[in-house]
C-alpha cells in the first residue's frame, strides 16, 4: 500500500519526518484527512494539532501553529512557525 512521506518543519529545525498512512489536520476550511494518492493541495493550517498516523500504527501529534500544509505526490509537508511533537 502506498504510504505518505511526512515532514514537519518549524522555523528553526525539522521537527519530525517519517512515513505515515494518514495525516489529519485542520485547515481554515475545516478538518481534512489525507491518505496516499491525495490530489496536490496547499492549505493554511488553522491551528490545533496535526495528527499523523505512522506506518507503525502510532499516532504522532504535532502542534503546528500558524503554518501551512502542502501535499503533492504522496509527500506531505507541514510547515509552521512553531511546531512541536506532543506525546
Amino acid at each position: 500500500m502506498a504510504v505518505l512521506t511526512v515532514v514537519v518543519v518549524s522555523a528553526d529545525r525539522e521537527v519530525w519526518t517519517g512515513e505515515a498512512t494518514r495525516v489529519v489536520a485542520r485547515t481554515t476550511e475545516g478538518e481534512i484527512g489525507i491518505l496516499a494518492g491525495h490530489e496536490p493541495l496547499m492549505g493554511l493550517v488553522a491551528g490545533g494539532e496535526v495528527r499523523i498516523l505512522t506506518t507503525a500504527g502510532d499516532t504522532v501529534r504535532a502542534q503546528a501553529n500558524g503554518g501551512f500544509l502542502s501535499v503533492a505526490n504522496d509527500r506531505v509537508s507541514v510547515v509552521a512557525d512553531a511546531a512541536e511533537i506532543v506525546d
Binding site: 515532514v7 528553526d12 529545525r13 481554515t28 496547499m42 493554511l44 510547515v79
Partner: protein, 309 residues
C-alpha cells in the same frame, strides 16, 4: 638586572598574557562556527519548504500581490545592515558596512531616499557616531539569531513597506549581510528583499540547493481557502525565512571572521614574544660583555699600576 632587560621582560610578560586571551577567543570562536553552521543547516528545511510553496503559488496562479509587484516609482528604499554585536573579528564589521555604504551611494545616485535599519551594535554605533539617522536598530543577537528576531525584523520592514511613501513608508527593501561560504570564505553582499523575486537559494546548504535546482514541474495544486489567501500567509513567512537565513549565515561568518582574526593576533603575539626575547638576550649579553670588559679593564689598570708599588 639592567633597566633594558627589565623593560623587555615586562613586554614579554604582557604579550604572553594577551596571547593567552587571543588563543582562548580563537578556540571559542572555532567551536561556535560549528554551532552556527549547524543552526543554519537546521533552519534550511523550513526555508526550502517555504520557497517551494511560494514558487508553487507564484507559478500556478496569476495573483498580483503587492509584495511581488514592482512599484511604478521607487522613491525611498530601506537598507538593513547586518553587522556584529562585538568586535574582535578583524575587518568583518568594516566590510559589511562598506558594502552597505556602496549600496546607499548607488541608491542615492538613482535619486532614492534611504532609510537605515541596523542589526548588531557595531553597525548601529557606526551610524550613530556619524550622526546618520537610523530608523530602527536591533542589537544583542548577532551571534545566536532565533526565528523570533527574524520575525520581529520582518514585521517592522513589512509595516514600513505597507505604509504610503508620503507617510514615511518605503518602496523597496535591501538586506546587506555577510554570506558564509566556508570557514575561510565569506562575502558581504546585498540583496533586494522586497519587491521579491522568488529565488531558490539556500546559502547554508549548497547540497540542498543543487537538489532544489532540478527544476521540478509542480503538479496542479488545489488551494485552500484560495491562492490569494495562501500567498498572503506565505509571503511574510518567506520574508522572515530569508531574513533568518541571512542572520544565521552572518552569525556563522562572524564567528569565522573572529576565529581568523584571533588566529592572526595569536601569531603576531608569538612573533612579538620572539622578537622581545631576542632583544632581551642581546641586552643581557651586552650587559655581561660590558661587565667583563669593566673587570678586565680594572685588572689591566691595577696590573699597570702594580709593579710601581
Amino acid at each position: 638586572m639592567g633597566a633594558q632587560q627589565r623593560v623587555y621582560k615586562a613586554k614579554i610578560n604582557s604579550t604572553s598574557s594577551l596571547r593567552k586571551i587571543f588563543k582562548a577567543m580563537e578556540l571559542i570562536a572555532a567551536s561556535r562556527i560549528q554551532k552556527a553552521v549547524a543552526r543554519a543547516q537546521a533552519a534550511s528545511p523550513y526555508a526550502r519548504e517555504i520557497t517551494r510553496a511560494v514558487s508553487v503559488v507564484a507559478t500556478q496562479s496569476n495573483v498580483d500581490h503587492t509584495l511581488t509587484t514592482e512599484p511604478d516609482t521607487i522613491d525611498r528604499a530601506a537598507v538593513v545592515v547586518m553587522g556584529p554585536d562585538r568586535g574582535f573579528a578583524g575587518a568583518y564589521a568594516a566590510n559589511v558596512i562598506r558594502e552597505a555604504e556602496e549600496l546607499i551611494t548607488l541608491l542615492k545616485g538613482e535619486g532614492k531616499e534611504v532609510d537605515l535599519y541596523t542589526v548588531g551594535r557595531k553597525a548601529e554605533t557606526f551610524y550613530t557616531f556619524r550622526d546618520r539617522e537610523i530608523v530602527r536598530s536591533w542589537t544583542g543577537f548577532s551571534e545566536a539569531p532565533t526565528s523570533a528576531y527574524a520575525r520581529e525584523i520582518g514585521e517592522a520592514l513589512l509595516e514600513s513597506f505597507e505604509t504610503d511613501f508620503n507617510d514615511g513608508g518605503v518602496d523597496e527593501i535591501y538586506l546587506v549581510s555577510t554570506v558564509y561560504r566556508s570557514a575561510v570564505d565569506r562575502q558581504p553582499e546585498y540583496r533586494r528583499l522586497i519587491p521579491l523575486e522568488v529565488v531558490e537559494e539556500d546559502e547554508a546548504a549548497p547540497a540542498a540547493r543543487s537538489a532544489a535546482a532540478h527544476d521540478e514541474v509542480f503538479p496542479l495544486y488545489e488551494f485552500e481557502p484560495s491562492a490569494e489567501k495562501v500567498l498572503d500567509a506565505l509571503l511574510p513567512r518567506y520574508i522572515d525565512a530569508r531574513i533568518q537565513s541571512a542572520l544565521l549565515s552572518a552569525a556563522a561568518a562572524e564567528q569565522a571572521a573572529r576565529q581568523q582574526a584571533m588566529k592572526t593576533a595569536t601569531d603576531n603575539a608569538d612573533d612579538l614574544i620572539k622578537t622581545y626575547t631576542r632583544l632581551a638576550n642581546t641586552a643581557r649579553q651586552a650587559e655581561i660583555t660590558q661587565e667583563i670588559s669593566e673587570i678586565v679593564g680594572g685588572v689591566d689598570a691595577l696590573a699597570a699600576s702594580g709593579p710601581s708599588d
